[in-house]
Subunit: 269 residues, 2 copies
């Protein structure tokens, strides 16, 4: 099953949530801290309870790298534990010169067995191309991000009057010859989403920014609906996985994903 | 000793070369392949022979990550082996939302004990700021890179007539309140370097692109000389570490660094 097929299959069954696994020892339920590997136990419980309702899991590489080689073992074991029909997104935000990007692509797609990756566009085509050579995977290019700093460069106006992030979208469409590109578009930029969604073509969209960062699910999903599209993934991390710090944390995460699904269903109508 | 002091000290002693450690099993001298950890042995021999003549070592994280958890152990052991007066650059090209960048910064500066890092500017200030909070470290921001794709976005013209990479330089100067920012500027862009070097202020500059990528040492060093600056590091990787594939590979690398030092001395006059 290609990554594109996995994504389509999940979305056709009405699942749009990408659960972000950002495991932080400081935020884990305290009863887990006596476990041999608290983060792995945490991730497994979250996956066990949420997988029926989630479309995808997004692994934030920083939160594993922080724990050194042990963290990378945990990352590997977490990915291995995720049911194979769910889209596994390596949120690693890579981007380097060609021969280096090739190494990252091999690491992420072969080494870590991820289905998808997030990429910085700044260095241009040849920094992205080694990832695109993996035809059956999905490369989500950062277009407009959910953070405040997205105004610094992404929203700069170019000579032709367009914004830099719009140029990134245009280039991503050109790079999409193998039908394996996607976009990251921050849900905190609701107006920009609404104004630019028609430019996206058939590119799938990963939307961070709902939850802890304050983006509106209602507005975001409405934009997709209005444009007759439903190839989107809503990423939720902290607001789901740390919803509850008791022994029932995973059940609370599950209920949160179910509530989001219901809300999305309602908005899609 | 702060990273800034290390850099100044190396440069004041006439050393400008950052040896790039991009270890690739396919390119290692074949006699090393029977070693228990060929890459670590390779790195140690390169460091042993070159450290008297090099200012810095640049660790390309992709080339370690590719070998999984074992690769990260090797990265850690390699960094530990580098003499403490040399600037250790984590060439990891990070950049993410604040709470994630914080994790990467802790990993790179505390976990891996690096002195400096390379960062993507695309996501703006708050993606960079968690690195800048490490006052005694140096964050090299990608301004204009050495690859062909640098034309795709970095050289786009903005509404005010400036290039995007010039805006990145301007912002980096604003972010430099702790005197711990630097720039990455590809040596393949000799003309742009010459035209923009006066904008750099006191920011140190890391220049990849000499050697395998074809940048001219003569032109690059001349631009710094003409502008009365010498706070630059020339990164060389493949053309030095893979100069020779015999048992004398490390000696050949040393001779290459010595030759580059002489050439830089000559141009500086």
């Amino acid at each position: 099953m290609t990554s594109q097929e996995k994504l389509l299959s999940q979305i056709s069954e009405g699942r749009h949530i990408a659960v972000g696994l950002d495991p932080d020892l400081k935020k884990l339920p305290s009863h887990l801290l006596s476990e041999k590997n608290p983060i792995l136990t945490f991730n497994k419980e979250i996956i066990d309870k949420t997988y029926k309702y989630a479309a995808s899991y997004k692994l934030n590489f920083a939160f594993f790298e922080k724990y050194g080689t042990e963290g990378f073992s945990t990352l590997f074991e977490t990915i291995s534990y995720i049911p194979k029909d769910k889209l596994i997104i390596a949120d690693a935000k890579r981007g380097d010169i060609g021969n280096t990007s090739k190494m990252y692509a091999e690491s992420i797609f072969n080494g870590f067995n991820s289905d998808a990756v997030t990429l910085h566009p700044y260095m241009g085509y040849d920094s992205v191309e080694p990832f695109l050579e993996f035809e059956d995977k999905i490369s989500f290019i950062l277009a407009l991000t959910s953070n405040k700093g997205s105004s610094d460069f992404e929203k700069l106006t170019l000579k032709d009057g367009s914004f830099l992030f719009q140029q990134v979208i245009k280039n991503t469409l050109l790079w999409n010859t193998r039908n394996n590109c996607g976009l990251v578009f921050g849900a905190t930029n609701e107006q920009e989403l609404d104004e630019n969604i028609s430019l996206f073509g058939t590119l799938p969209v990963l939307l961070p920014g709902i939850g802890a960062q304050g983006g509106s699910l209602e507005k975001v999903v409405s934009s997709f609906k209005k444009n007759g599209k439903d190839n989107f993934l809503i990423n939720v991390s902290r607001s789901v996985i740390y919803k509850d710090s008791s022994r029932d944390f995973a059940k609370a995460a599950m209920q949160e994903v179910m509530a989001l699904n219901q809300e999305i269903d309602r908005i899609k109508g």
